[in-house]
């Protein structure tokens, strides 16, 4: 039945679509121009906190990388690749960001293959285009983090999973591709296990849709993954350090839940634009009911894709509400291709003209959203550490001190800062020492500040990642010192300058008698 429908589609296809089906590579290459152009702008953005952490983590030998990543909340594949990449192409921010871009570009043809495998080559093409136009993906395509690698491996893994579902007798190559992508996937991000969980749940519910003996082979793959991952799990457990540098996350609200989907479609926007998108949620009802068409049954692929989106979201959200907060939209980036495919499937059920209108409108909105991300300096994910540190470099002297809080925000400051003032964290933390970041104590704040600042004239207080005590620190300085200036560089990145005293021991010593 599927082939008969495909023949019909071809017979009615527009010339450009026929051309695409003859040479998809060319069309995909044209599509890829968008992310390449977008990267021209995004790669020039200031280094962000997470990126600085990545660069700091990989700036040591392989053993050191493993040790440090084991203390983080991540797995080491990306860091090892980045380490090797920077060894080959130089230790620059641009080089590091290009690695993420490459994984993103590599993902585009695989999204096409996934869409083609799930539905049709047309859906595959549209999904590839949407993926390439995605403001969310374009943002992470120039971030020195593992998210495009994670998405890439998930797409490849889901592609092989669908092949297993659809092939009457899956070939060894299919199983090998599935197993390899799964093993690499679990080393790209811990959340890859949620992808496997969704696949497992789908398999249990629709076991009859799979070829015979699939359960046995899945068991073998699961064992393979377990064996491959066990040493890392054992190592992390042995050191007992996972999460040492983990930022404190708040339990997500329903706004965060829907915001993640909004970000998947329209990227990172200002609060005003986000409010507009979220307030229009009843339009989702219209999108759903208009798609109710005769005999448009749910294909098993659709059920799988629904599971691939909803199970990770559900587990992350519910787990964050009731166990520990882990809900972060970028951690769920691996559900984005499945989400796009579902959306395109939904649109494909519309009457033809309406369908084209909806697809073009959505693509245009996504491109517009990329434009806003590029041009608007106020979008919340832009972290202007470069500007802030540049200001500090220009103004701070050896008689001044730079204090940053939360402590882990020291990474981007260290990356950019080449000035004479010492840089310390509040609460005080030595990132080179083994152990977690010290907890903040309001009672110890006065003594800690006094200890850190007693030899200096001015303090440059850079507050950029509230861990629940930022306001306490700011109030302390406001109450005890004269504030000389306050500047906001982006989102929550604020720099305050306080006068500690009019002269210092250093200045007294250096002053001629």
């Amino acid at each position: 039945m599927k082939s008969s429908i495909a023949i019909k589609t071809n017979a009615q296809a527009a010339p450009w679509r026929v051309a695409f089906e003859r040479s998809p590579g060319l069309v995909l290459a044209v599509i890829a121009i968008v992310p390449i152009l977008a990267a021209r702008y995004f790669i020039g953005e200031s280094l962000r906190l997470d990126e600085a952490q990545s660069l700091w983590q990989v700036s040591r030998d392989i053993r050191g990388v493993l040790v440090i990543v084991a203390g983080d909340v991540h797995v080491p594949l990306y860091h090892l690749l980045l380490h090797g990449w920077l060894s080959l192409f130089g230790n620059s921010l641009t080089a590091a960001r290009i690695l993420s871009l490459l994984f993103f570009l590599l993902s585009i043809p695989f999204v096409y293959l996934l869409g083609k495998r799930a539905y049709s080559s047309t859906t595959g093409l549209l999904a590839a285009a949407f993926f390439a136009f995605s403001p969310f993906m374009n943002w992470y395509a120039s971030e020195v983090r593992m998210y495009t690698l994670f998405a890439f491996l998930t797409i490849v893994n889901q592609y092989f999973f669908l092949r297993i579902l659809e092939e009457a007798r899956p070939r060894l190559g299919t199983w090998a591709g599935y197993a390899l992508s799964a093993v690499l996937g679990v080393f790209s991000h811990y959340f890859f296990f949620l992808n496997l969980l969704a696949q497992g749940a789908f398999f249990l519910l629709r076991r009859k849709a799979f070829p015979p003996r699939t359960a046995l082979r899945f068991s073998l793959v699961a064992s393979f993954i377990a064996i491959a991952f066990a040493p890392w799990a054992w190592y992390v457990r042995l050191r007992g350090v996972a999460g040492f540098q983990e930022p404190i996350l708040l339990p997500p609200s329903t706004v965060d839940l829907f915001n993640a989907f909004s970000q998947f479609l329209f990227g990172f926007q200002t609060d005003v634009i986000n409010t507009v998108f979220l307030s229009l949620w009843p339009l989702a009802v219209v999108l759903g009911i208009v798609a109710l068409r005769h005999y448009r049954r749910f294909l098993p692929q659709t059920e799988f894709l629904i599971a691939a989106v909803l199970i990770p979201f559900g587990v992350a959200f519910i787990g964050s509400r009731f166990i520990t907060p882990i809900f972060v939209s970028r951690y769920l980036v691996f559900t984005l291709p499945a989400f796009y495919l579902l959306l395109l499937r939904l649109l494909s059920l519309y009457p033809r003209r309406f369908q084209i209108f909806a697809q073009v409108s959505l693509a245009a909105l996504m491109l517009l959203a990329i434009g806003i991300q590029v041009t608007n300096a106020r979008i919340p994910v832009k972290e202007q550490y470069a500007s802030a540190v540049s200001y500090v470099t220009a103004h701070a002297t050896a008689q001044d001190i730079v204090l940053v809080s939360a402590p882990f925000t020291i990474y981007p400051v260290q990356y950019y800062y080449r000035g004479p003032a010492p840089v310390r964290t509040l609460p005080a933390w030595n990132q080179y020492e083994f152990g977690p970041i010290p907890a903040f104590s309001p009672d110890a704040l006065s003594a800690e500040v006094t200890g850190l600042t007693q030899d200096y004239q001015n303090v440059y207080l850079l507050l950029s990642y509230d861990q629940g005590y930022e306001e306490v620190i700011k109030r302390y300085f406001d109450s005890n010192y004269e504030r000389l200036s306050a500047q906001n560089f982006s989102g929550s990145l604020n720099l305050y300058v306080y006068r500690l005293r009019y002269n210092t021991n250093a200045s007294v010593i250096s002053t001629p008698l």
Binding site: T254, L257, A284
Partner: protein, 519 residues
């Protein structure tokens, strides 16, 4: 060649009967519905108390619809035992009231050649009492085809009266009834009569299939509305011995019919009430899930509106005049089923209420509840989409946007029927037109157009009052959704004329008044 078969979509005559009852999905649907209702009713701070009360009433009605639907379709596989070889004498009634003779000829000709050992075909000719010119032609047709023709000369009781009259001129223990346009298959009696081997079997109903479903947008949408009812709902009612009598494509036991005083002449939905009365007397009913006769859907908006009004008015009579809650002899399941079917036509009031909530906000700023964040979306969207999926699964994916739009878009007809039933006004039985009536039917959807106009004007009013706020956007999106739901029925009413097709012209003045009940 089967004209209703398409390689891509299957067989329209069979697929709506391939129902499914996924219990896990049903339970999940019930849980999500309950969670949604509880959150809406108890979590959000109340805004305007009157609007909040109306909203909660509306949602209670929706819960009733969801849970009675789930209860109905919980198991759609039940079938009573058929007694093979049981073949008593049958009278076949074909009710006529001025329909085109050629159309009647096809039905009578098909009825004559049914494969059954012992039956007599009667044309129940009401053309004379209905003042139709072709009543003599029908008599001539009967003579030509060698069937009996019973022409009434004393009016009264509309179709029910016609059947009751014919009871006096026939004697078989079983009576098969067909409307003039419903052409029976040759095996109709073979597949329905054996159930009467059970002496308590009162009537056997089969689906009301529209063979002209591909004629135009309206016929297709009408059929899509029917699929849900004649698919999972009727099959579910069969399990609960609460099959709805539909007036055509059915077989009735004469003694049971006589016991309830013949077909009920006090309601324009004589079949529905008669079935209820027979159930009240302890008779059983059976639904045979197979298309055994093929009829015609209304082809124009005026005829559709009249038909919907008749069904709505008749069903609402069950609530106001023959309320099953107070009727002895019915089981609890039957009471729930009759109330569930009848209360469907109360939905007009709920649709209007829900549609007016955003409009009220535009003009007054009043809201039923103060919602912040996305909690409502988090509970409503899973509930809604799960419910739609359950409907799709249970109906073998035959539920469509058009059928939803027609059901919700008929709210004005349902409201008129509600007013009529609540005030016990008499309504005339209108014969559904068997030919398309051309013309401009936009007056029939004037409420819908007025609603869209209210929205278009209301949004700027709200912007002037409070700027582009989150509440405005949210209410605007709801208003767009309501407007979108009205589009199918507006489309069906849009002026059209198809060259070269047989149709009637109706004076515009008559159109807007014809569905109003007459005293």
């Amino acid at each position: 060649m089967n004209p209703y078969y398409d390689e891509a979509i299957g067989d329209a005559r069979k697929d709506f009967l391939r129902t499914d009852s996924p219990k896990t999905l049903f339970i999940g649907n019930g849980i999500l519905a309950a969670v949604y209702f509880l959150v809406l009713a108890f979590v959000f701070p109340v805004g305007n108390p009157v609007l909040f009360f109306l909203l909660v009433v509306g949602e209670i009605f929706h819960m009733w619809q969801v849970f009675t639907f789930l209860y109905t379709v919980w198991d759609t596989g039940y079938q009573s035992p058929a007694y093979r070889g049981y073949a008593p004498e049958v009278d076949v009634f074909i009710t006529i009231a001025g329909e085109p003779v050629e159309l009647v000829r096809k039905t009578v000709a098909a009825a004559r050649v049914m494969r059954y050992p012992n039956f007599t075909v009667h044309i129940l000719n009401d053309g004379f009492v209905a003042g139709k010119e072709n009543w003599r032609e029908v008599e001539a047709l009967a003579k030509q085809l060698g069937v009996n023709c019973i022409t009434r000369t004393v009016a009264g009781g509309a179709k029910a009266g016609n059947i009751n009259n014919a009871l006096r001129f026939s004697k078989s223990p079983l009576i098969a009834c067909f409307d003039a346009d419903h052409v029976p298959h040759s095996d109709f009696l073979l597949k329905t009569v054996p159930y009467f081997g059970d002496p308590k079997m009162g009537f056997v109903q089969t689906p009301q299939f529209y063979k002209n479903l591909g004629e135009n947008y309206l016929t297709r949408s009408s059929w899509e509305q029917q699929e849900l009812f004649f698919g999972p709902i009727c099959k579910g009612k069969n399990r609960l011995n609460a099959v709805t009598m539909c007036g055509t494509n059915m077989v009735i036991r004469r003694s049971a019919l006589e016991e309830v005083g013949g077909m009920c002449t006090e309601s324009i939905a004589e079949d529905f009430i008669t079935g209820l009365l027979m159930h009240g007397r302890g008779y059983r009913s059976e639904y045979v899930p197979e298309v055994l006769a093929e009829g015609l859907a209304t082809e124009d908006m005026l005829s559709y509106s009249k038909q919907q009004f008749r069904w709505a008015r008749g069903a609402l009579d069950v609530i106001f005049r023959w309320n099953p809650l107070f009727m002895s002899g019915l089981t609890t399941a039957q009471k729930i089923q009759y109330l569930s079917s009848a209360s469907f036509y109360l939905s007009g009031a709920i649709v209007l209420l829900d549609a007016l909530l955003p409009v009220t906000f535009f003009y007054t700023g009043l809201v039923p509840v103060h919602i912040s964040g996305m909690l409502l979306a988090a509970v409503f969207l899973p509930y809604l989409f799960w419910t739609l999926y359950v409907i799709q699964r249970s109906s073998n994916f035959t539920f469509t946007f058009s059928s939803l739009g027609f059901s919700m878009g008929s709210f004005n007809i349902h409201l008129r029927a509600l007013a009529s039933a609540a005030t016990f006004r008499k309504s005339a039985f209108g014969i559904t037109a068997k030919r398309r009536v051309d013309g401009n039917f936009l007056p029939l959807v004037s409420w819908h157009i007025a609603y869209i106009a209210l929205v278009v004007v209301g949004i700027p009013v709200a912007i002037v009052r409070e700027g582009i706020s989150a509440s405005l956007l949210n209410n605007g999106a709801w208003a767009v959704m309501n407007s979108a739901v009205f589009i199918p029925i507006i489309r069906a009413a849009w002026p059209t004329r198809i060259a070269g097709t047989e149709s009637e012209q109706v004076p515009a003045k008559q159109k807007s008044h014809e569905i109003v009940d007459r005293d």
